[in-house]
Every structure is written in structure tokens, then in C-alpha cells.
């Protein structure tokens, strides 16, 4: 016989049973009973009070990304939960495990347009992995356990629990539960032995193989398996934005980021390889450019855990379904040892060209205003390339992806598929809780910072050691770049009048400095890194700088532009 507890208490017990020690939330009417129970659990569950529910959802994402654990949000009904929709959708497209628990009006009021009632399950279903309404206290333990199983297994994703107020206060018997099987849900599809053999055969026959590394490698804890795979067959590998830290940046086989702002070599060679091997990535249009011409010369292998990703955008010759932690070694065992020296050598001229035309002027400019690339690379270096890189969205994100370096996995926290501005600051807060032993640096622009700037309050209250690097160019930089390139420099509502960020930081009691001159950059970054706790470093960067190389939307992926034509 289990204990008789209220639904809200069962929620707390169930969360602890799932290993939850940190949650991000914001109280309100329909979740107040649960918050009242939470008050008694403060010694076991650390609740981080955010300043807006969107912040809670992104903080949970940041926490999940760096820790590998499921992030948890607790919010109220109505606007509380609608504010998390952006984070839920973001977590869905980026395969991030979070569980959002939202208050709901009592079951007797459902459907009556009661105060702060919104149809959460129907609203969330299209953007989450699973949504469920708990109307009865006796369902709580089952629903929570099912939620964590679904969120964290297979291809991870967000789950939403809509927790009716009556179910929070009514009592039921509590027995700890552990859901690890759902009849209708197969988290890891069976691997076809033949696909392993076929994949190995194609790789052994290939003369110019190119591996595309996605976040699936990190999600599957298969970074070592990936390295063994590419090293044995001597295969160059490019990374997607979310897969950047799945392979150390300086690994000799790493040929840089793929796609729109990726490296020149990886994109050029996508159109020259004879075999493309995608691992845990989904052929997003930001990676492929024009689909109809994308690597049509090459045979293709796709390793993925999600059957619906196979042949979704790019038809492949061999699909290896399953967990890459087991499928990669299975294929590796059948591979012939190769070097592919000539093929790897063929990347070099492109690397040299990119280095000369794009990279050097970004990271070692001789004159003019500060550039994003030099700031980012300096921060990376002065944190021994070991920090967690969080970004917002836009130029700051692409520049960070290009110039930050990674030596450890689970070091990239960025909004990939959704491109959610305002993600950076709250996600960085979450990351400090998910990886308390690591340095967390967030790069953001003046646009994205202001979208969730209220989370400076959370940073202040928690003393969260977020190193905020504000790349201030007084523009919505990425949109401005597109306006410059594709809209005849008509800067429609992209210039921004900015507030005095130093004063804002001061108001929140966050140490702050502004760098304008290049000569001050290194010392100021060092000061930031050496200052315990949060820090805001504002960098006045070149106003009309552009992210290059760039594959223009709809163009062939190897049609890369390296600089503006004069």
C-alpha cells in the first residue's frame, strides 16, 4: 500500500523519482496548489524563478542540452503555458528533451472559457512529442513517468503535461512508477543487419566519402564511436550547427561546418564526393541548399533513429535505422582501413582560400572596428576551447558557430531548426545549472538580448555565472545582411536605437564592461573570464559586417560567396 498524497505532492515525488533536482518555473493561479507543495520540497528540488515563461522553456532546453538530462518547466495555465509554446516548438525541432508541466483550470470548468483556460493539449500537440491532460490525481505518477520516458528516449523531444487544478489537490495513493515500455511507441527501431553490410560495402568501395555529423551523435552518446568510424576509413567529416561539438574542432578529419554559412571545403566537396554518409542529421534546407541538385553525383547512406527522417528530404541508397551508438561500431567493424590521402588533400585549396579571404580578416583584422569573429575566437581561446557556447540567433550565432572551437561534447547550445531569437540568455542560464562545473559563454546581438532581457533578473537572483558577450552593431544584423544582399540595401526596420546596456547591467548588479578598441579586447575578456559569477561584456562591433562564406538560399550548395562584390 502506497502513501496517500495530493496530486501536487505526487508530482514532486514523481519528479524526484525521475532524478529531477532543478526546475525552471513561474507560479500563477492554476498552478498555485502545486507551488504550495513545492514549498515543502525546496530542500530536494531547486526551483529557479525565471522572469517570463518563455525563459523557463529555453532554460530547460539549455539545461538539457549540456547535461543530457530532461529539463523541466513548471508554469501556470493560459498565458503561462502559451508563453512556453516557442520553447516547446524549439525543443521539438532540435530534439531536446524537456517536460513542461502547466497548471489548468479544474476539470469541472474545462471547456467553459474559465479564467486563464486555454486548450493546451490541442495547441501543443503539433509542436511536441506528447501532450496529456491530467484530470485525476491517480494519473499523476503514471503521466509523469510516461512523460520522462517519452521525452528522453529514442529521438528526444518535448512533452507537455496539462495539470488540472482539482488533480493537484485531490488525493490518491502514490506508488513510485517507472514507465519503460509503451506498446505503440518504438523509441529505437530495429536495425536491419543487411543495412550494416550494405553501408560498409558502399564505404569500402568509395573513393571520396564525406561524413555529415549531426546532433544525433551527441544525443546517442556516440562521439567516440563516430571518431573510430571516420578514423578507420579515413573519412573527412563536416558537422551541422547542432553537431559542432560532436567532433573536436581541431580533429584532422574535421572539415568544418556544413551548409549556408559553413566551410567552403565541406560545401564544395559535398558536390564532388562519391559517397555521402549522414549520421543523426535531417538534411535541413540550411544544410542542403537547392535540394534538386544536392549531391546528386553521390551515393548516400543515412544513419538515424527516426524512420520518418529517412528519404524525407534527400533520397538515400542505404538507410541504417537504429541507435548510432551500436550501428556505427557495427559498420566500423566491417570497414577496411583507409587513408583517402588524395581526397583529403583536395580540401586544402578551399581551406586556404577561405582562410585568406574570410577567416583571417575576421579573426586578425589590422584596422577598423572590432569584428565578431575576433571577439568570439578570443573568448574561445581564453577559455581553453572548453567552454559551453550558447548563442542567440542571427549573425552572432553563425559567427559563433564558425569561430568558436570545441574540445568537449555537449558544448553547443543554440536554436537550430526554429531559429528562435531570445533563446540565448535563458538557455545560458539553464546551461549554468546543467553544467555547473563549466564556463558558460553566451554570444548574442542587441536584438536577441532585448527579446528576453528580463532574464537578467534571474541571473541576478541566482548569481548564475553566465558570461554574456553582447555583439552590439546597432542593427538586426542578419536581416540587415539579407536586405543588403537581396533587397537592394533597403534597411527596412533593422537599425535599432539601443539602450545604455552598462546602466542596465548595473541596475541588475551584473559587472559590465564595454570594448571599443581592439587593443583592449584581450584584457577585457580575461577580466570577464576571471570575474566569478555573471558578467556582461559589450563589444562595439563593425555595424555592417557580413557572415561569409554564404550559400544564397535556393542556390547549389557549392555555390558559395566569399565576400561582397565591389
Amino acid at each position: 500500500m502506497g502513501k496517500i498524497l495530493s496530486g501536487g505532492q505526487i508530482l514532486m515525488e514523481s519528479l524526484i523519482n525521475e532524478g529531477v533536482d532543478t526546475i525552471f518555473g513561474y507560479p500563477g493561479g492554476a498552478i498555485m496548489p502545486t507551488y504550495d507543495f513545492l514549498y515543502d520540497y525546496r530542500d530536494r528540488i531547486n526551483h529557479v524563478l525565471v522572469r517570463h515563461e518563455q525563459g523557463a522553456s529555453h532554460a530547460a532546453e539549455g539545461y538539457a542540452r549540456v547535461s543530457g538530462k530532461t529539463g523541466v518547466c513548471l508554469v501556470t495555465s493560459g498565458p503561462g503555458v502559451t508563453n512556453t509554446v516557442t520553447g516547446v516548438a524549439d525543443a521539438m525541432i532540435d530534439s531536446t528533451p524537456i517536460v513542461v508541466i502547466a497548471g489548468q483550470v479544474g476539470a469541472s470548468l474545462l471547456g467553459s472559457d474559465a479564467f486563464q483556460e486555454v486548450d493546451v493539449v490541442d495547441m501543443m500537440q503539433p509542436v511536441c512529442k506528447w501532450a496529456y491532460q491530467i484530470r485525476d490525481a491517480k494519473d499523476v505518477a503514471w503521466a509523469v513517468s510516461r512523460a520522462f520516458y517519452i521525452a528522453s528516449s529514442g529521438r528526444p523531444g518535448p512533452v507537455v503535461l496539462d495539470f488540472a487544478k482539482n488533480a493537484q489537490v485531490e488525493k490518491a495513493e502514490y506508488e513510485p512508477m517507472k514507465v519503460n515500455f509503451i506498446r505503440s511507441y518504438i523509441p529505437v527501431p530495429e536495425t536491419d543487419e543487411e543495412s550494416i553490410v550494405n553501408a560498409a560495402r558502399l564505404i569500402n568501395q568509395a573513393e571520396r566519402p564525406l561524413v555529415l555529423v549531426g546532433q544525433g551523435v551527441e544525443l546517442g552518446y556516440a562521439t567516440a564511436e563516430l571518431r573510430a568510424f571516420i578514423e578507420k576509413a579515413g573519412m573527412p567529416a563536416g558537422c551541422t550547427l547542432l553537431g559542432l561539438s560532436a567532433l573536436p574542432s581541431d580533429h584532422p578529419l574535421n572539415v568544418g561546418m556544413l551548409g549556408m554559412h559553413g566551410s567552403l571545403g565541406s560545401n564544395k566537396m559535398t558536390q564532388k564526393c562519391d559517397l555521402l554518409i549522414a549520421v543523426g542529421m535531417r538534411f535541413d534546407d540550411r544544410i542542403t541548399g537547392k535540394l534538386s541538385t544536392y549531391a546528386t553525383q553521390a551515393k548516400k547512406i543515412h544513419f538515424d533513429i527516426d524512420p520518418s527522417e529517412i528519404n524525407k528530404n534527400v533520397p538515400v541508397d542505404v538507410s541504417v535505422l537504429g541507435d548510432c551508438k551500436t550501428t556505427l561500431p557495427a559498420v566500423t567493424a566491417l570497414l577496411e582501413k583507409k587513408e583517402h590521402k588524395e581526397w583529403r588533400e583536395a580540401f586544402r585549396p578551399y581551406d586556404e582560400e577561405e582562410n585568406r579571404v574570410v577567416i583571417e580578416p575576421q579573426i586578425h583584422p589590422k584596422e577598423g572596428p572590432l569584428r565578431m569573429g575576433e571577439v568570439i575566437r578570443k573568448v574561445s581561446e581564453l577559455t581553453q576551447n572548453k567552454a559551453v557556447m550558447v548563442t542567440d540567433v542571427g549573425q552572432n550565432q553563425m559567427m559563433s558557430a564558425r569561430y568558436f572551437k570545441f574540445t568537449q561534447c555537449r558544448s553547443v547550445v543554440t536554436s537550430g531548426g526554429m531559429g528562435t531569437m531570445g533563446y540565448g540568455l535563458p538557455a545560458a542560464i539553464g546551461a549554468t545549472f546543467g553544467a555547473p562545473e563549466r564556463t558558460v559563454c553566451v554570444f548574442l546581438g542587441d536584438g536577441g538580448l532585448q527579446m528576453t532581457i528580463q532574464e537578467l533578473g534571474t541571473i541576478m537572483e541566482q548569481g548564475a555565472p553566465v558570461k554574456i558577450i553582447l555583439l552590439n552593431n546597432n542593427y538586426l544584423g542578419n536581416v540587415r545582411q539579407w536586405q543588403q544582399l537581396f533587397f537592394r540595401r533597403r534597411y527596412s526596420f533593422t537599425p535599432m536605437l539601443n539602450p545604455d546596456y552598462e546602466k542596465i547591467a548595473e541596475a541588475y548588479n551584473i559587472p559590465c564592461a564595454t570594448v571599443i578598441e581592439r587593443k583592449d579586447l584581450e584584457a577585457e575578456i580575461e577580466k570577464m573570464v576571471n570575474t566569478p559569477g555573471p558578467y556582461l561584456l559589450q563589444c562595439a562591433i563593425m555595424e555592417e559586417d557580413n557572415v561569409f562564406p554564404m550559400c544564397f538560399p535556393g542556390h547549389d550548395v557549392d555555390d558559395m560567396v566569399l565576400k561582397l562584390e565591389d
Binding site: 493539449v121 490541442d122 500537440q125 503539433p126 512529442k129 506528447w130 501532450a131 496529456y132 491532460q133 517519452i150 519503460n180 515500455f181 509503451i182 506498446r183 505503440s184 511507441y185 518504438i186 527501431p189 530495429e190 536491419d192 527516426d306 524512420p307 520518418s308 529517412i310 528519404n311 524525407k312 538507410s319 535505422l321
Partner: protein, 213 residues
């Protein structure tokens, strides 16, 4: 199990109907094929919405939809017909099967399913009496007149979707139609292999294996 074989008749070759055959579905010359989806889900709230969402996202029109309990306790069965192309259907069905509470989703061309539909036609009695072609057409389609009164008559039919549409066109052309309703298509597979049964058996064994661990 969750491999690429969601199109159950894929192994048997062409997905198109031979030209000389009479189709079970109304002929629409838009280059698209009629597909029948058979989906099984757990009996939880909101699954239907999740299924129709997949169609909505791709701007695909659902031609007919029928939901009923299945032969298995606790499992619901959905029959959806849709006109599209093979590649799109494959993606749609995989995205449906991905939903947590969907047990199995498959799609078929008409050769591989036995389909049937019911319909009711409410027509004007005066025209039914005056125009013998109407009753001829009703007999020809093996429909039944189930009610006759001074103002209207009700015709009931149970048959192929193509017949039901044909009779609808005839009755409309004769200007006697007051109301028309059809039930939506129901279908069972013609295969001698019962995939759902095998699937549930395997899952039962897998569950037992996990519990024993």
C-alpha cells in the same frame, strides 16, 4: 519492424491501377492516385487531431475518414482515403506512425484492400414517379428505396465509392436530389497476413522481456 515497409503492397510492384480496370474509386483526372490508409491507435484523447494535423501541414485533402473501435480491445481503427502521390503518402504515413499513441499506420492502393461505403440519397418523389430513368438507375446500382412519401423518397446504397458517386451524379442530373450523405470508406486488407496481430504479439514478448530484466 518500423522499417520502410509502411506501404504494405510495395513488394508487389506498381502502385498504379491498370488502365483497363474499373476503379473502385471515382475517376479524377488529376494525375493523383487514390490511397487508403489504415491506422490503429491507442484509445486516448486527441489522437484523431494528431493524425489530421499531418494532412493539414501538407495541405492534403482527406477525401473520407472513418473512425471506429477495432477488433482489438482498446485499439481504435481509422480508415482514411486521400488522393496524392506515392512519395508524399510514404512520408505522411511515417509521420503518422511516429505519433506516440499510434500503433500502426499503413497505406494501400485499391488492389490491396476490400473497400465499401454506405450512402443515403433523399430525392423528390414527384420526379421519381415522373422519370423512369431514375428508378432504372437506382435498380442498376442495386440501391434500395427505403422510404417513400408524398414529398420525398430515401434511397440507400451499400457499395463501391465509384458506384455511389456515379448514382449521385445521375440523381443530381435528373434534378431530383434533396440531400446526399455518405458514410466514408471502410476497408480491410486483402493480404492473408495480419500485420497488426503479429505486431502486437512481438510487442507483448518485448514487454515481457523488459519486465523480466
Amino acid at each position: 519492424m518500423m522499417n520502410d515497409n509502411i506501404f504494405a503492397s510495395e513488394m508487389s510492384g506498381s502502385s498504379n491501377v491498370p488502365e483497363n480496370k474499373i476503379s473502385k474509386f471515382p475517376v479524377v483526372n488529376d494525375g493523383k492516385t487514390w490511397y487508403t490508409l489504415i491506422i490503429f491507435s491507442e484509445n486516448l484523447a486527441g489522437v484523431l487531431n494528431q493524425i489530421t494535423n499531418v494532412f493539414t501541414r501538407r495541405q492534403l485533402n482527406i477525401e473520407s475518414l472513418n473512425v471506429s473501435p477495432s477488433g482489438f480491445k482498446g485499439l481504435h481503427r481509422y480508415t482514411v482515403t486521400c488522393r496524392s502521390d506515392f512519395e508524399t503518402m510514404k512520408k505522411v504515413v511515417k509521420q503518422i506512425e511516429k505519433k506516440i499513441d499510434v500503433v500502426l499506420a499503413r497505406f494501400y492502393t485499391e488492389d490491396h484492400v476490400y473497400v465499401m461505403e454506405q450512402a443515403l440519397y433523399k430525392i423528390e418523389t414527384s420526379k421519381l414517379i415522373a422519370d423512369h430513368d431514375i428508378s432504372k438507375a437506382i435498380r442498376k446500382h442495386e440501391a434500395k428505396i427505403v422510404e417513400v412519401n408524398a414529398t420525398y423518397s430515401i434511397v440507400s446504397i451499400e457499395g463501391l465509392p465509384s458506384d455511389i458517386v456515379e448514382l449521385r451524379h445521375i440523381l443530381r442530373d435528373h434534378g431530383c436530389m434533396l440531400q446526399f450523405v455518405s458514410s466514408g470508406i471502410v476497408a480491410v486488407t486483402k493480404s492473408s497476413h495480419e500485420e497488426l496481430n503479429s505486431f502486437l504479439k512481438v510487442r507483448k514478448l518485448q514487454k515481457e522481456a523488459i519486465t523480466e530484466d
